[in-house]
């Protein structure tokens, strides 16, 4: 297993703390494709060490859409330790992400993170599956890279509404083999994804599966992982306030033997064992109608 990297960060009064709370300069911010935006921030390398699956709480600026009062959780899309940059991939859906899209180089963005616990990676594994949908792909980019580093083979199924919305494929193409599936041609149906996974598993069996971005896929992978005998993890989102584990807003039920335990997504997650999730439907992002953040 990879160790959780604990690096120290310079916060208030020059003291070092495990979580960075600071305003970072915006290097670039702009649309990619027709649905998503990509923002890059400058940061000292030690501030960037995060595990795949961890997230930051961003204090999005106000815009004509409104003034987002609370921070928005956003999973790390990429970290470049050579140049000292961290990147987030987002979809403009509400007042938080609309505000985010107004930032230009020269502005700063107040970030808090890295937060939560990341994915488990075991170098002993031969072949793993990643199924991600839409902006959930952002969460999986760093994971693909880390799997590759650990010599684990990867097959990814990336699900989108339309071929035009295709985004975030690069890390998977670089580090594994990719299937893209779409709503427009029906290939993203649960039934088609189900048979695709079974075919791939028959070809080269999966040791583990990861998913993010779709509640239906969580259900599917829960079934498949018990039928086909591999473990798995899911990165979840839940509406949160502090992000640090203090306010108990972002809870979800986890199966614990015969009982159910309520845990905080921000501090005990956002990554959980697939089998522990009782009701994937009960996770929600900032806006009921659309999934805003990538967690």
């Amino acid at each position: 297993m990879l160790q959780n990297t604990v690096s120290t960060r310079r916060n208030i009064g020059g003291t070092e703390f495990p979580i960075l709370a600071a305003a970072l300069p915006v290097v670039a911010n702009g649309p990619v494709g027709d649905t998503y935006w990509h923002i890059r921030l400058k940061a000292a390398t030690t501030h960037l060490l995060s595990r795949p699956g961890q997230f930051f709480q961003l204090r999005c600026p106000r815009s004509e859409a409104g003034d987002p009062f609370l921070r928005r959780p956003m999973s790390v899309y990429a970290v470049d330790t050579n140049v000292g940059e961290i990147a987030f991939l987002y979809k403009v859906t509400g007042i938080g992400t609309t505000g985010l899209s107004t930032l230009v180089p020269g502005d700063t963005l107040d970030v808090l993170g890295p937060l939560g616990v990341g994915f488990d990676i075991n170098p002993e594994w031969d072949h793993v599956l990643v199924v991600a949908r839409g902006v959930g792909l952002a969460t999986m980019g760093p994971l693909a890279k880390a799997l590759h580093h650990n010599g684990v083979a990867l097959t990814a199924i990336c699900s989108y509404r339309t071929p035009e919305a295709t985004i975030g494929l690069e890390p998977f193409e670089l580090h594994g083999s990719v299937h893209t599936v779409y709503d427009t041609d029906g290939t993203s149906d649960v039934a088609s994804v189900d048979s695709l996974i079974r075919e791939e598993h028959a070809r080269r069996s999966f040791s583990f599966a990861y998913t993010c971005g779709s509640k239906r896929i969580v259900r599917l992978l829960q079934d498949l992982s018990s039928q086909l005998g591999f473990g798995g993890e899911v990165a979840l989102e839940q509406r949160m306030a502090c992000g640090l584990g203090m306010c108990h807003s972002c809870v979800i039920d986890l199966r614990r033997g015969d009982t159910v335990e309520s845990v905080r997504v921000c501090s005990r997650g956002p990554v959980f064992s697939l089998g522990d999730i009782v009701a994937p439907e009960e996770t929600l992002s900032w806006y009921r109608s659309c999934d805003e953040s990538a967690i």
């Binding site: 916060n11 509406r239 640090l244 203090m246 807003s249 809870v251």
Partner: protein, 315 residues
């Protein structure tokens, strides 16, 4: 010489007048600041028995604030003493436990259990529903407030801070009842009962339908309550509602508060408690204010009528 921040509030010596508000602080804050820098650690409310808390969504935002309906989840008082409290002893800062219960007798039992745990004070969260009064919060009624405070008073020698609800039309009378029953200080106040609706889905934003409003939007209302209470009680008042800057603290002191608690702002800026203290010092030093006593109750009122009415001040 910089302004002296040290103060005594309701039987507790504090390094500074700025504390976290219950439910918005826990030991995880040590990931961004040194808990030893805080003047006191006011812990999340503990209930008599264990509670699951409310359904999600438990928070939502609004202009100038947020609503929450967390529902005080937790393992109950025994679990708190055995598993939670030890996490806070290391920092050396005074610890204030917040308690809540269904009945006055349970408040008393909890106060007794906490008496030998090295606490600086107990905060009585009487803004929660009173099972003996059809779920109406204790602090909605003078009698229920007096009963809880008096019962806790008999059970412990620790300083008792009574945390009032702003959801009453007679906060001054409630404040007086708490004082007469033996409270050492008053926290004014908890959150304001509120409702947020999503027009598209026609559903309430919170799983519990209603929740408590907090943040900058409530500040003028709570400031007014602090002002009203401070003129009628002689125990210290801890102002709490919408503080996000050093200037806000000054406003609360001027209204009559001795100290303050900061809640929601720690969610926006997790280092807010340290920043706000620095801003308060800058404010005072920039104006040659050497003691906070110069500010407390210092609101300038033109031709203050001697017998100004308490509540029915028509705008």
């Amino acid at each position: 010489m910089s302004v002296v921040l040290e103060t005594v509030c309701g039987g507790v010596r504090l390094r500074s007048p700025i504390m976290p508000a219950s439910g918005t602080f826990s030991h995880e804050m040590e990931n961004v600041l040194d808990l030893g820098q805080l003047s006191a650690l006011v812990l999340k409310t503990t209930t008599y028995t264990s509670r699951r808390g409310n359904p999600v969504p438990r928070v939502t935002e609004t202009s100038f604030g947020m609503l929450n309906s967390i529902g005080i989840p937790g393992g109950g008082i025994q679990h708190f003493v055995a598993n939670e409290l030890p996490k806070y002893r290391r920092s050396g800062a005074p610890i204030v436990a917040s308690i809540s219960a269904d009945t006055a007798a349970q408040f008393g039992e909890m106060a007794a259990i906490l008496s030998d745990e090295g606490l600086a004070a107990i905060e009585l969260n009487i803004s929660c529903p009173n099972i003996e009064a059809d779920g109406q919060a204790f602090a909605m009624s003078r009698e229920a407030t007096a009963r809880v405070v008096a019962t806790a008073r008999r059970a412990t020698t620790l300083p008792l801070w009574a945390k009032l609800t702003p959801n009453t039309g007679e906060i001054v009378n409630i404040a007086k009842a708490a004082e007469s029953a033996g409270a050492d200080a008053l926290v004014v106040a908890n959150t304001i009962l509120a409702l947020a609706i999503d027009a598209d889905s026609r559903r309430a934003e919170l799983g519990n339908i209603m929740g408590g409003l907090s943040g900058p939007g409530v500040k003028p209302i709570i400031l007014r309550m602090v002002y009203q209470c401070a003129r009628k009680v002689s125990i210290p008042i801890i102002g709490c509602g919408g503080i996000s800057s050093g200037r806000d603290v000054v406003e609360y002191l001027l209204a009559g508060a001795t100290t303050v608690q900061v809640g929601t702002e720690s969610f926006r800026d997790p280092t807010a408690l340290v920043r706000i203290e620095r801003e308060l010092v800058e404010f005072c030093d920039g104006r040659g204010i050497s003691s906070l006593r110069e500010l407390i109750g210092g609101l300038m009122v033109q031709d203050a009528p001697a017998g100004a009415p308490d509540v029915d001040v028509a705008p």
